[in-house]
């Protein structure tokens, strides 16, 4: 048994290999090569079509992808914990509708006597609706242990139904004395850049800091890595779970309200089917549906990639129906490339 004691002792890691820097961390992630693919596609498109780099087209792409991108940030948090949120598209619609209706109701009342109050109240109502949806998702999933897929699938239907029920199918346009400011805040430009893009980038930076430099962010990753281990170390698992569903819903509510500014109205079918684009963006950007992997850079890059390709097909004059087919193909391709790459590194 004496030989056993000689088994260790060195601390120079002479027999423990380490991958070179370009094969670990960000450089070895799906996010990194999707970013490279994005750059390549953008270069190719700018060569093929002179319209692609025009200011108008770029602003259009930027705005379109921001709505999806903001919700992708939120859903990425949920996906990192190993969950899923299918109710984001419906939440976008209901938040937008609640915001617009509250604005209509407050128009012409005494509330308008105080500057900004009407708009603040309507924004808070819209976000409040989202918060309640997220809270319901989170409580059902964390406290009652229901499956995230089924819970949020049910919520998708409930919330979409509510959106039709309260509007009776009619679009709701924001009105009132603050309406110009509302449009400036949701659909304006700052230094030539659409505000939606600025919101997206600011939120992405905040999310990056929270995920990688706070205890909450670390617990989000720990939940996705090994939920049982997280619970054993005393992490408040239920609270973290509820928080990610609430944040996901809030991001959806916020994006929904921005879309009201863009469209000038909140129709009940707003963002129908967006949940699939949003989940696709997160997955293309490198979030792993089994949990534990994902981040804001991936969310932004994934959302941008989908929008750039859609835009490219439009510029090329290809039928819109084919765009849907292609987006599906890209999702499978991104995951496939990642699979091949991890197999190669492992062997």
């Amino acid at each position: 048994m004496n030989d056993i004691t000689q088994a260790s002792g060195a601390s120079d890691f002479s027999n423990v290999g380490r991958a070179p820097w370009w094969r670990r961390g960000f450089f070895a992630s799906q996010t990194a090569y999707v970013a490279v693919a994005l750059v390549v596609i953008m270069v190719v498109m700018s060569v093929l079509s002179s319209a692609f780099l025009s200011a108008g087209n770029l602003a259009n792409v930027a705005k379109n992808f921001s709505f999806v991108g903001i919700v992708t940030l939120g859903i990425t948090l949920v996906i990192v914990t190993g969950g899923i949120d299918l109710s984001v598209g419906s939440t976008m619609a209901l938040s937008a509708i609640v915001c617009a209706i509250v604005m209509q109701r407050l128009a012409g009342t005494a509330v308008e006597g105080i500057p900004l109050l009407a708009m603040t109240l309507s924004l808070l109502s819209g976000l409040g609706a989202a918060l309640l949806i997220g809270l319901a998702n989170g409580l059902l999933i964390a406290k009652l242990g229901l499956s995230p897929f089924v819970t949020t699938l049910g919520m998708l239907s409930i919330v979409r139904g509510l959106a039709y029920a309260v509007t009776e199918g009619r679009g709701q346009a924001p009105t009132g004395s603050d309406v110009d400011l509302f449009y400036a805040l949701t659909d304006g430009n700052l230094g030539g850049v659409p505000v939606a893009v600025i919101y997206l980038l600011v939120l992405a930076v905040i999310m990056g800091v929270v995920l990688h430099h706070t205890a909450f962010g670390r617990h989000v990753f720990a939940l996705g890595g090994n939920e049982k281990a997280a619970a054993l170390t005393g992490i408040a698992v239920d609270r973290v779970k509820i928080a990610v569903y609430v944040l996901s819903a809030l991001s959806a509510g916020f994006a929904g309200i921005l879309m009201v500014g863009w469209l000038g109205s909140a129709p009940a079918n707003l963002a129908t089917g967006y949940e699939l684009t949003i989940i696709a963006a997160a997955v293309i950007g490198g979030a792993n549906l089994t949990g534990g992997v994902g981040g804001p850079a991936g969310a932004v890059i994934g959302a941008l990639l989908i929008e750039v390709i859609r835009n490219g097909l439009v510029l090329a004059g290809i039928n819109a129906y084919w765009q849907i087919v292609l987006v599906g193909g890209i999702i499978i391709l991104a995951v496939l490339v990642d699979r091949v790459r991890t197999l190669r590194i492992a062997s």
Partner: protein, 246 residues
């Protein structure tokens, strides 16, 4: 002084008697092997010590004071840590992140508190050096060997300044070299004055690292003697029931 005393512990689950009249004393810095066949009551005993559930009868004394654990956190608070068989590590996080999981070091910046990565990596590096383990604090656990994972799990208990560590089958399903590493880790814990209860099915491990072996059969303790006065053959006989008691 004894670190842990189990005084006449019994446990029933409904009509099933899982443990009856178990007495066990653990001294500081002692490595005790706990053996027995599946269903002999090892896990029940360990779960009582770890605070997963209370005993039906009997008393638990830790450092000569009677303790009542309602949940694992209570046991951890007095200095009892468990290294689980599946190690309970988050594969996607670094070694340092796992060691500090749930008790992260933070720095205040205004009203916000941020993780202090440098301090956590430094402290984790120190723990690995103490354990003489070739493990880097900033490596991701997914890429680690079984022995390194054990080191991470054990470093976590060291961080908590545990006085008694329960190790549940730490050498199951790892390679020969890694078994040697884990046994070495246990010796370092002993040298640091920490008591270890090693739950194992592997006779060579228990006989190479433990001072005492405790054998359970059908919910009772059938043997509790120094390994120098026993043999793998005797322990096997005790486990299977070929020999009644020793």
């Amino acid at each position: 002084m004894s670190l842990l005393v189990l005084d006449n512990i019994g446990k029933e689950f409904g009509a099933i008697r899982a443990l009856s009249n178990v007495n066990l004393t653990i001294r500081p810095g002692e490595v005790v092997g706990l053996m027995g066949d599946n269903g002999a009551g090892k896990s029940t005993l360990v779960k009582i010590i770890a605070g997963n559930f209370p005993p039906s009868h009997g008393r638990v004394l830790f450092e000569d004071k009677e303790v009542h654990f309602a949940k694992p956190v209570d046991a951890r608070a007095v200095g009892i840590e468990v290294v689980y068989q599946d190690l309970a590590l988050a594969d996607n996080l670094t070694a340092a992140a796992n060691v500090f999981l749930g008790r992260e070091l933070k720095r205040k910046v205004g009203p916000f508190s941020f993780l202090d990565h440098a301090a956590m990596n430094r402290r984790t590096g120190e723990l690995f050096r103490e354990l003489k383990s070739e493990t880097r604090p900033d490596d991701v656990v997914r890429a680690m060997s079984g022995g390194q994972r054990q080191a991470v799990a054990i470093a976590r208990t060291r961080l908590a300044r545990a006085k008694l560590i329960l190790m549940d089958e730490p050498t199951a399903a790892i390679s020969v070299r890694q078994v040697a590493e884990v046994l070495d880790l246990i010796r370092r814990l002993r040298d640091a004055g920490i008591a270890v209860i090693l739950i194992s099915h592997r006779m060579p491990d228990v006989f190479s690292v433990c001072e005492r072996v405790v054998v359970m059969r059908r919910g009772t303790k059938v043997a509790d003697k120094p390994v120098s006065q026993s043999s793998p053959e005797e322990v096997t006989a005790l486990i299977t029931g070929a020999k009644e008691a020793a």
